[in-house]
């Protein structure tokens, strides 16, 4: 074996209920057990102001917190706002991916660090309205 990981050997559980939620507060409640998140300017969100392709919006997240445990993405306008959670098990503070946006919307980034929840929001406009997310 070349160090293959058996699928299903995950350390955490897939947050099905958060992904099923249709509204942002419900998604936050399911994902974190709370909608009470502290606003912060220590999360750096790199994303286009206006996205030319709503199906492929690049986002880069830098957490300014030591001991960042997870980084979550929530797109308020999507039918399922909860987009992704990245659980970080070592000293890490950066992730980048590409997301779909159904419409111009706020992107919420939630960072869990030392057991505390922090959030930062970035509005992103999309060039056209043709996404199926």
């Amino acid at each position: 074996m070349s160090g293959a990981i058996i699928p299903g050997a995950a350390l955490a559980e897939y947050p099905s209920k958060a992904f099923l939620a249709k509204e942002t507060p419900e998604a936050l409640r399911e994902a974190f057990g709370s909608t009470d998140l502290g606003e912060t300017d220590k999360i750096e969100i790199e994303a286009p102001l206006i996205a030319s392709d709503a199906n492929m919006v690049p986002v880069r997240i830098h957490s300014g917190f030591d001991n960042t445990e997870s980084i979550s993405l929530v797109v308020a306008a999507n039918e399922s706002p909860f987009t992704a959670v990245f659980k970080l098990y070592e000293s890490q503070n950066f992730v980048s991916t590409r997301i779909r946006m159904a419409d111009s919307s706020d992107l919420l980034v939630i960072v869990k660090a030392d057991g505390m929840l922090h959030t930062s929001t970035r509005p992103i406009r999309v060039g056209r309205n043709s996404c199926e997310a």
């Binding site: 070349s2 160090g3 293959a4 990981i5 699928p7 299903g8 050997a9 995950a10 350390l11 955490a12 897939y14 947050p15 992904f19 199906n55 492929m56 919006v57 690049p58 880069r60 797109v75 999507n78 039918e79 399922s80 909860f82 987009t83 992704a84 959670v85 990245f86 659980k87 970080l88 098990y89 070592e90 000293s91 890490q92 503070n93 950066f94 992730v95 980048s96 991916t97 590409r98 997301i99 779909r100 946006m101 199926e132 997310a133």
Partner: protein
């Protein structure tokens, strides 16, 4: 799965390993319609991505349908040249794939 679906590039700068990867996957949301028939394409998306460095899990990502087709994933982690980075994915149909790359 016979075709390789995961591309990984990893290189070290000052003790930090920068990993960039792309997974070939349709990431169907379940809402896209085939124009000719009007039928919806059933959902087919990656739910889970596990990343390990030298066989130790360092990151787990849980994804929904709002991640783009052929997902891109980049991250940084402490490490050095010669380390092995393994990325595995599992989708909602039980398909999966794993790939490993050496840090350059």
């Amino acid at each position: 799965m016979t075709a390789r679906t995961i591309k990984i590039r990893a290189h070290e700068v000052d003790g930090q390993v920068i990993v960039k990867s792309v997974i070939n996957h349709p990431m169907e949301t379940g809402r896209r319609k085939i124009k000719k028939t009007g039928k919806k394409v059933p959902p087919h998306y990656i739910r889970e991505v596990i990343v390990s460095r030298n066989r130790r899990i360092v990151m787990e990502a849980f994804w929904g349908k709002s991640i783009s087709r052929n997902p891109f994933l980049a991250f940084e982690i402490a490490g050095r040249k010669g380390d092995s980075i393994t990325i595995s994915w599992l989708d909602n149909r039980g398909n999966s794939d794993t790939a490993t790359a050496k840090v350059r």
